[in-house]
Symmetry: C2
Subunit: 303 residues, 2 copies
Amino acid sequence: MLDVCLLGTGGMMPLPYRWLTSLMMRYNGKSILIDCGEGTQIAMKEKGWSPKPIDIICFTHYHADHISGLPGMLLTMGNAERTEPLLIIGPKGLTKVVGALRIIAPELPFEIRCLEINETWKRFDFEGFSIEAFRVNHNVVCYGYSLVVERAGKFQLDKVLELGIPKMYWSKLQKGATIVDGNVTYTPDMVLGEPRKGLKVTYCTDTRPTDSIVQNAQGADLLILEGMYGESDKLEKAREYKHMTMYEAAKIAAQVDAPQLWLTHYSPSLTYPEEYMKDVKKIFPRAVAAKDGRSAELNFEED
Amino acid sequence: MLDVCLLGTGGMMPLPYRWLTSLMMRYNGKSILIDCGEGTQIAMKEKGWSPKPIDIICFTHYHADHISGLPGMLLTMGNAERTEPLLIIGPKGLTKVVGALRIIAPELPFEIRCLEINETWKRFDFEGFSIEAFRVNHNVVCYGYSLVVERAGKFQLDKVLELGIPKMYWSKLQKGATIVDGNVTYTPDMVLGEPRKGLKVTYCTDTRPTDSIVQNAQGADLLILEGMYGESDKLEKAREYKHMTMYEAAKIAAQVDAPQLWLTHYSPSLTYPEEYMKDVKKIFPRAVAAKDGRSAELNFEED
């Protein structure tokens, strides 16, 4: 239903056998990419997914390891004869950064629309889902993102029959439309039960732990956080460069009682993230040291 | 002596298991890179070579597949605490292109010097070798490059003794210095025999066949040319997009009687370049369909 693939798990620079951190999601016919570093298009092809149908690219911030793959990605999308517009979302400065990088990708067969985030929190609504951006704490302006799928209540046949709502309106009301028929107004809540649990993925790299992460990760089915360092003596370094250790990420996951935590954005010095998982799991047992290409399919709960 | 590694062999876009075309050479303590596409820094690490000591980067042209890896490469060199200046050579517009791409690599611990080529042919002299740039014929301004190592003649002890040149000057004269001692002038030709055969690598992608390639490939020990297409029906496409087929590259190698030809810069549609080598070798038997990481060590001939 909601397909998620962590295309890469590296921070700072791409390495042989470790792509830069980037998340691709597919829901309701739309493809969403968060960050696009050097090599992300190759990671995507390795996964067997195509760059052509990407509808939205969200950037957390403009450090090269999160955006250096953009010109190549745009050209590959163009070479695949994409013509639909592409939406790019990112912190202030987006238009300028994308414009500068396009010096080597000036001609594209599709339009690019840039949406800059100036607020500490911002919600973007799409058909069937929304993207929420929340400010975090890095050494440049940086955002985390949640993809949120809301799920309406179940169709209540008993109630609908009781209220005598004409059958021709049922489907439209179920899809959320309000209908005025003469002097009678029908609203979706007349045919639907209580909203049901939807789906939520929260993704955040390049930050110190913040309250905004805890607030925005509430209710996430999948939490993806950076675990830049695992070595016990690297906390100072994490503080200095405004990154998070694997233990700090685990503490956030424990605080919000996430169903699962994937760690990513490892420092190039962190060769075997698994090495530290025993200690990480003491803080949060459902933590996983993700590897490139880790995927999940998230589905609505059975009624 | 002269180490050569073709880091990648792809054109247009990076693919899983095929890096973008780029050549690294090492000679006399200097490292030279020609082109730097998305992923070139990873290819370099796979080879076991470091980006830190690169002294010179030459760009053939500014299509993204030849330059998109520059910001990441610069940052990785910076992260390795490089402080020596880096020289970048390329066609007109270099300063502007490098400047724009550096929007995501603004702070580096080393200086970048840009040398723009405005001529159809230009020679750059370094310690012990030179780089020659020659204009070719692509749909944007594009250059091929030769790395040329000249080799002085052998030290002629008999002649030196006969001329009575003081021993203290021998080594300096052998290294090319001219020495004035009172009213006597000693020149290198007094101690050296005829210049000996040096080393030469000629590299050229993204062009139609041109006289300039033939002229500049004369005497090359290793000729590296693009063979974008192998399929017999792709000549029209090669003409339209200003590329070379494998057969056209082989004809040039035959014309200059090159000791060896490496083909590179394959179209993503060319999955198995080897498939066409039987026909290519009919034109030029010493042609090789190079794969990523193909290397050679070129040495001076024995005296």
